[in-house]
Amino acid sequence: MNNQSRENLVNDIENRLNDFFSEDQAEPSPVPARESIEKLKSVVLSIDWEIDETCLNDLVVEADALMPQFENDRLAHTLLRMLKAVGGYMHKRQARSHPDAIKRIMSVFASLEKLATDDQMEEALRKKLVAKEIAAFKKLKEQIELQRTPPVTPQAESIDEAVGRDAYVERSKFEQAMSAVEERLNSQVTELKAQLEALQNELDGLRSR
């Protein structure tokens, strides 16, 4: 480990230990909502830049860490739960995630940021904002559920195949029968033509006498 890496590691450890053992533990002072979501914001921005496992994990951790602080704010708490759920889903499904999941994260965080920073926002507007996010979240959930609908079972496939095969057999039989009828009719028409030609010859012979 080079000196720079070691220095960074030591700094990170000291910062974490200072946070963990900080003196405000007995009575944690309330952190303004604006400041408390800064960490979450940086995680969301980093996801916007590049989606990787660490960022998604951090998103879940940060959303989880903010839950107690927003426990009394039902609307913000709902948005945090949504962020955690979508983050957890993307972390689990990774590249197989629904393409709209990342948009949900961005949108939910933007709404959360509005709620946390705009003290003047009316309650009705706050509710409307969250209702919109809930509706979009439900829609995404439905789309994901649809993606997850079980594939056609092997039995069903075989039934389909069998039906298809039978239909093919019926059609080919029909075509064979039709061609047989056509052949038979053609030969009869030929015979009739020949008979007609013979009768015509006989008639011509009688006229010439």
């Binding site: 070691r6 450890i13 230990l17 963990f20 951790v61």
Partner: protein, 202 residues
Amino acid sequence: MAVIHIRNKEVQIKIVYVGPGRGGKTTNLEYIFSKIRHRILSDMVSIKTHGDRTLFFDFLPFDLGQIQGYRIKTQLYTVPGQVKYNATRKLVLKGVDGIVFVADSMEAMREKNLAALNNLEENLRFYDIDMYANFPIVMQYNKRDLADSGIPLMDVQTMDEELNGKLRAPAFAGSAVTGENIIPTVKKAISTTIVTLQDQLS
């Protein structure tokens, strides 16, 4: 040796508080627990004898959070200090990643401090650990508060020369009863342990 789950990005480290009997190891852990109890999910486990002495060990696990993407789970242990419980001490030291040596500052405890340090060296050697070869150790000269009660104490410099002359480990003069330098001791123990672990892995 620390337990490292690469897949879960999780590191579990074990730090053991050792030192002479009645030196304040358990009080150290109790103080730490009192400071962090509201933010950890786990409890402190103590197994004591009738006379309130540590029979087996004290155990305080907690999740420190993430450092450089890895979740650090820390386990603090104490060992019984009494000489007769050496088998237990040896057992608890199995898989140790870092040590806090809690020395008793009372003059009367001078020999016992040295005996406990020698015993630690022997027990670590049992696990092929040379405590003088960059093994993470933090020294704590405990019970400094007793000076106010008129109890004769060794001065810190003397203790440092006698106990830490060869080790040259980070050292703190403190008091587990008043909490003086208890948190800095555990912080130093955790940081040196993680840095040493990182050195070993890289």
